[in-house]
Symmetry: C2
């Protein structure tokens, strides 16, 4: 047999490393970066974008791999540069009207720590004079050259910025000027020479005069900055792969600083704060973009441009409409007017507040621009959660005392306290406390727990204060850098000298990062009032928008949403918030308060009879609890988890009691101490709890199962429709479940018979140990449902005790980028998630139709909800307050772009 | 296109439910049970087996599935019964010479709690008379019938045994006889009638007179007994699937109780105690098999048969040789001589002591009967471990005071103490203590830790005492039921009234289960002396056998064996025992003793400088430790694990210190208490330890890495060949490893440069968290090796803190069959093992040739070693004492039948 002739080897055409702005489009952001792709898109739309081209991320990747730019890149850049020169009729850094270009980095996602921009590439000792002659503005030309040498020196050649800044300050001082704008052309020329000397001194080479060399070095510097330490850290934190690389856009310069008919500005197609359509933005006359960002000079509202340059203003409004109708969203635009001519330098879909997001999404639907599924993609559960916090009455708020990072949302009012011990003491006296610290450490934990709000002067979203506050649900503003905190003096001083002393009242807004002096009135969230049913769906336009979006989400979602609720009151609230059942009722909460004495009797019982008497006394109390709960959730499932925590949680603390016994020697304490010692565990999280307790303490689970069954029978007898489900916690192996299940079935059958009714009570298990997930197929054969306990699963998969590790090292881990986000906030899909996925598959394979839910706190976390949808769970269960968030995210997940 | 004509559907012949003894063979034990398969094998070999047939496990399974015997079974049994009657020339329970049969259960593995045997099926009010006439022995006939009614009543009809026993005792008393052998024929007849009345009274039906009905009921009872509670529990404990079912063998009766020319006995082809070839066993004249087992009458040594019945004796010896040459192993035989004719009733490969196992294996190789691979299969690591414990000098031992379950091996001598608190107190005074308890509970833990040996009167291998003692490595005998323990009186009394009082010396042999009064001299293990090199390989025949078997194992094994060793002394010992390197050096042990003060300084340091000074002081000490270790293992790898435990382990206990502060108010204690509180963790196992510590405490890991690198450089300078490997503990995510690795590489490079040498030190990680296993592919990209820390992995996969749970509920779990064996003893292949397997695969896929080891205690456990071999690890690492066991099991694993 002969094989067919092989096709001759064909060489792929070499990859194209450079795209003209006329070639790309916004779909190519992976290749051209966000900036490059949007420049290409605007060019494609016929908007006035200065001509230019983008060097692809592929070129960067090749550079990072080999250490040198790909050989083909030089020629491609030359070809595109020639084309650019032909189109503009100018030559880069040469001739009477020299072409200057900007070089800007642009990864798919913008990234702090990367080199951003070098402007005015092309200026040299020669071309600076041509520029002066051509523009007729010698000062402008030298200032541009001065800026190039400075920017190039800093970002491309790596000379520390202070060296330039010091020389600039000296020059300003010598000239007797107020600031650099007071320097004349000659002074700027001298300064530029000094900068060039500095470059030569530091690099051993003169400032490059060849414009192409400037360009190539700048491109290479952008590539290198991809691997700068801050960029690497940011990528670790954000889980952006290191291999992606950045693109580089090269764009012909236009100048907003060529006189009063020039200027630069930013514009938004809608108000990013409220979502209202209109003209929003700022404009700065006779200035370059960096001046707007630097905030050196005062901008005017964009509307003022109508008076200053009506033609450009009208053109800008027209282009804004083009962009919004094209992007179908709020656009954020940078523009420059050069001597009366409008140029678009950048656009992107704009950031917005939570309220604006909901309003804009609904408006766009009403305008027929997007459909409801797209509207769901335009809002997020996190935004909805922000709208649900009480907030300060903005009308009544004074000017903020300070601003910091909005680290953990909420509105907290209290007296400033500068020391954790005093925070505990004052809180114990009933005061509401704001703990103010330079930064927090694990030693501050008690104080943080006692405080209503936390304010720090240092640290960002991943600082200890931020991480711990979020974990505990405390309001927190951190990194309010204008505050000088003096722990010894117990004061915080603002930049303008205002002093906050211990005991002064502060209002801390963890949603906006603002801090106010005095008590700012708190207004409840209208959105929550709407969910509670105390405000109508048309209470205001925000509520109306939320109402409609929630309707779309509920219609779209496939995931059910249940509540974690232990009391009838919580259950009723959850139901108002849209829960369709209870996914987790923790029975341990029913053993607290006065009942603790009964549990103590159970634990201290000397024989089995004593223990059974204690259980018998608990039975009617539990039964009554369940009856109330089933009534509150009548007609909907209520998943009751049998007792989970170790018994010693119901007894006094070992250390406290030991000290008391040592000091007071009371007989009853001595006896109690013996029991506490006996039950003491090194690692109670990994000890005698959950199903283990049920297997070791005779009658405990049977009592609970009986209480559930009898409560159900009684509710039914009273005309109700109780739907209990019983969940067995901490199962690690199917044998545990088999034994408990057998006993539970007997107890239920006996209760049903005694009440003359039929009780179909599903018996399921938590999957909260790695072993349960790994053997889910075996366990499913004896379980009517699985509920993933992702809190405990996270603890065991990572080997973390949440109580211990959040305070001790999570902040360090987030700062080093070891975590992108705490795995207790958002499910760790690689680790914990992979077990959930595998267990769901194995469980359903062993028992088709097995009901799958999740009842860890992740059930109310937006990103996690999307994961649970994707994995195919039937429902999530979360705290009542989080239910709307879960509903929304479940709807979004169901409409996610594939 | 036409498809080829299909073959006409052929119906499978119906499954065959009954095999004649002439049809099966020993390979069919899954179908015929162990007993049935061996009866068939002996029949096939032409040995004199009474004819019979076996009902298969398939029939049982069908019965268990449907609740009734398969319809075809009745006819098949009839056909085989007909054949049996034809062959014997007798009819079941009919005629002048009625055929009687035995019905015996026989699963693939023998199983306590299942119905065992019913003899004499076929006897009825009619046939008993024929039997009397035929044998000429009326007493024999009625005694046989009495036994049938009793056995049938108890095991088939479920009447409690006491009801029969009471009537029997009454009859003996009325007859004025010493025991039942004193009853005459008439008395036995009356007793039989009374038994029949009892049956009728209890079951409402007369004792069945139809022999076939007797047979069918007995078969059904055997089937039912498969699901008896004890059998189910045993299967749960032993992980035998519930669906297998049992076979039933039906065999023509032969009688050893037909006079002085009859008898019954057991024989072994070799001495099961020593392995010596010869004639071993017991014989009982004029008796049935059950009499031998019951021990009612005294047996004679088998050799006596030569005098009593030389022909049968010679025949027996011949058959024993046939069997041994056929089974190629020690055979354990049951036989009966009926009026001078020898019948073989059962054979199986016999149990033997550890010493016998080694001797027999070597002998069989020398006889050319088996090869070396087969010899390895004939011994086990557990047997070798038993040979390595010191033992009591059997020559010097008195008669045992009591016997119990050999629960945890070893030979312990000490004073009897009956209370855990006093055990602690006496041990603190330096006494060696044997804790004697009725049974132990978690409250006894302190006393168990303090004791050299533990002795209980109740409980088996899975009792609390046994489980905890094995976990702690304490010698333990439990369930010594002849002892009455009186805790209040502090005495233990034997059946013969001997009283042991507190303070009396006891010697407890945990390897044999024997307990002696007084101090029995302990002799060291000759096998250990051989491994230590202090005894030659030919010290005695046992040592010689072990020496040869170890040679075969080493030649066969693919797994490397390393030691867990922290000191040069341990390393040297491990090397003598055959370790080829250290797989785990725990550096925390180097921080104890006087150095604890330095660690305390590190922890209490008020600033970074203080901490760095403390680290600097530790550096030379660590370096010296490593130098010694590398020298002891010169030329072999030494894996150093960086500091793992939480820092507070180096500080005083929180509760103790709190009490001291409350009572004494010393300033230095107050300061220390603040640090202890700060570092206190709810669940230290899941807290700030391992790599987390390395990332949070600046300079800690760097100091350790530097000590390793400098020690290696110094050893090399001194002409040595140090081969350190550095292992990073508790990694959960690759980011942790990346950061630590980067720092370590810098430190190593700096040390190498400073010493003018090259240092290639592999950097690897423990895989001891589920998340590390689940993301092993990512981690492997930054790890030179993996070492599975299966102790911690077991703790997190199951959510067990070993310190807490072994005492609190493992005994209950083993007793309920939730565990077959503690997952800390033998790796849990379904859970922990599945992660090890997946991580090994993912790691090697990401980094081909990645070196994989295990350093948990499972590395020295026989079953676990086989698993690690199967998963493809490169080495196991275990405590020095376990190294020979690991070597042997690694060799066995490599030669395991596929």
């Amino acid at each position: 047999m002969t094989s067919p002739p092989r096709a001759p080897a064909v060489q792929d055409p070499p990859a194209k490393f450079v795209y003209d702005f006329t070639e790309g489009h916004r779909g190519l952001s992976g290749l051209l970066g966000g900036k490059g792709a949007n420049l290409a898109e605007m060019t494609r739309l016929g908007l006035p974008v200065p001509p230019g081209f983008t060097i692809t991320t592929a070129a960067c990747r090749e550079y990072l791999r080999t250490g040198t730019p790909p050989p083909a890149l030089r020629d491609e850049v030359s070809a595109h540069l020639d084309a650019l020169e032909r189109r503009t009729g100018r030559r880069l850094g040469r001739g009477a009207d020299p072409l200057l270009v900007s070089v800007r980095s642009g990864a798919e996602r913008s990234m702090p720590g990367m080199m951003d921009t070098v402007l005015n590439i092309g200026l040299s000792d020669t071309s600076v004079r041509s520029l002066a002659a051509q523009t007729g503005d010698e000062r402008f030309a030298w200032d541009s050259y001065r800026r190039l040498v400075q920017m190039f020196g800093e970002t491309v050649l790596g000379i520390e910025g202070d060296a330039f800044a010091d020389r600039l300050a000296d020059a300003v001082a010598q000239a007797g000027a107020a600031d650099e704008t007071g320097l004349a052309a000659g002074q700027l020329e001298r300064l530029t020479r000094m900068f060039q000397d500095l470059v030569c001194e530091r690099t051993g080479r003169p400032f490059p005069q060849d414009p192409r060399e400037q360009l190539d070095l700048a491109v290479r510097a952008v590539f290198d900055s991809w691997n700068g330490p801050r960029a690497r850290l940011y990528r670790r934190q954000e889980r952006i792969p290191h291999h992606l690389g950045t693109a580089v856009s090269v764009c012909a310069m236009v100048f907003g600083n060529l006189g009063q008919d020039s200027g630069t500005g930013v514009a938004f197609t809608r108000d990013p704060a409220t979502g209202q359509q209109g003209v929003y933005g700022d404009y700065l006359r006779n200035a370059q973009g960096e001046d707007v960002v630097a905030g050196i000079r005062n901008t005017v509202p964009l509307a003022a441009l109508e008076r200053l340059d009506p033609a450009s203003y009208a053109e800008l409004l027209r282009l804004m409409e083009v962009l919004e109708n094209h992007y179908l969203d709020l656009c954020d635009i940078e523009f420059t007017i050069e001597r009366g001519r409008l140029w678009m330098l950048q656009t992107r879909v704009g950031k917005r507040t939570a309220a604006a997001a909901f309003r804009i999404a609904v408006q766009l639907v009403d305008q027929g621009l997007i459909d409801e599924a797209e509207a769901l993609r335009r809002v997020s559960g996190e935004q909805l959660a922000h709208l649900m916090f009480p907030r300060f009455d903005s009308g009544a708020a004074p000017a903020p005392l300070a601003r910091g990072v909005a680290a953990s949302p909420g509105a907290a009012v209290g007296v400033a306290v500068f020391d954790p011990a005093r925070a505990v003491a004052r809180a114990a006296r009933g005061e509401r406390v704001i703990l103010v610290r330079r930064e927090t450490t694990p030693d501050d934990l008690d104080g943080m727990i006692a405080a209503a709000g936390i304010l720090t002067a240092r640290g960002g979203k991943t600082s200890h204060a931020a991480v711990v506050a979020r974990g505990m649900g405390r309001t927190c503003v951190c990194g309010a850098e204008e505050l000088r905190v003096d722990h010894a003096a117990r004061t915080a001083t603002t930049a303008d000298g205002t002093v906050v002393r211990e005991g002064d009242v502060l209002s801390v807004d963890g949603t906006t990062g603002r801090v106010y002096r005095g008590e700012v009135p708190v207004v409840p969230s209208a959105v929550v009032e709407y969910f509670e049913g105390t405000a109508p769906p048309d209470a205001d336009d925000l509520v109306a928008a939320v109402h409609r979006v929630m309707g779309w989400a509920d219609a779209a979602r496939r995931l059910g949403v249940r509540a974690n609720a232990d009391t009838a009151a919580d259950a009723a609230r959850a139901r108002r918030f849209g829960a369709r059942g209870i996914g987790l009722c923790r029975t341990e909460h029913m053993f607290l308060g006065e009942r603790r004495a009964l549990v103590e009797r159970l634990i201290l019982a000397e024989d089995d009879q004593g223990a059974q008497r204690a259980l018998a006394a608990l039975l009617p109390l539990q039964r009554a609890d369940f009856r109330e709960l089933f009534s509150a959730m009548d007609g909907l499932p209520v998943t009751v988890r049998l007792l989970d925590p170790p018994l010693h949680e119901f007894l006094p603390d070992l250390t406290d009691l030991s000290v008391r016994v040592a000091l007071e020697h009371r007989d009853e304490d001595v006896r109690l101490l013996a029991a506490v010692r006996r039950l003491h565990e090194q690692n109670p999280m990994l000890g005698l709890r959950g199903v283990r307790l049920g297997l070791v303490v005779p009658g405990l689970f049977a009592m609970q199962v009986r209480a559930v069954a009898e409560a159900a029978a009684e509710c039914r007898a009273a005309g109700g429709d109780p739907r209990p489900e019983i969940m067995i916690p901490l199962v690690g192996t199917v044998q545990e479940l088999e034994i408990v299940r057998e006993e539970a079935e007997e107890v239920i059958a006996a209760a049903a018979e005694a009440h003359g009714t039929r009780l179909d009570i599903p018996l399921g298990t938590m999957i909260e140990l790695p072993r349960a997930a790994l053997t889910a197929g075996q366990i499913a054969e004896h379980a009517d449902f699985f509920s993933f306990g992702t809190n405990d699963l996270t603890q065991t998969v990572w080997g973390f005790s949440r109580d211990d590790v959040e305070a001790s090292f999570f902040a360090a881990y987030l700062e080093k980028g070891i975590f992108g986000v705490s795995p207790f906030e958002t499910i760790d899909t690689d680790g914990v998630g992979s077990l959930v996925r595998a267990a769901a598959l194995a469980g359903r394979a062993a028992r088709p139709g097995l009901k799958l839910g999740v009842c860890g706190e992740h059930g109310g976390d937006p990103d996690s909800v999307r994961f649970f949808h994707e994995v195919g769970l039937d429902y999530v269960s979360c705290s009542p307050f989080r239910i709307p968030v879960a509903r929304l995210e479940a709807g979004r997940a169901a409409t996610a772009a594939p």
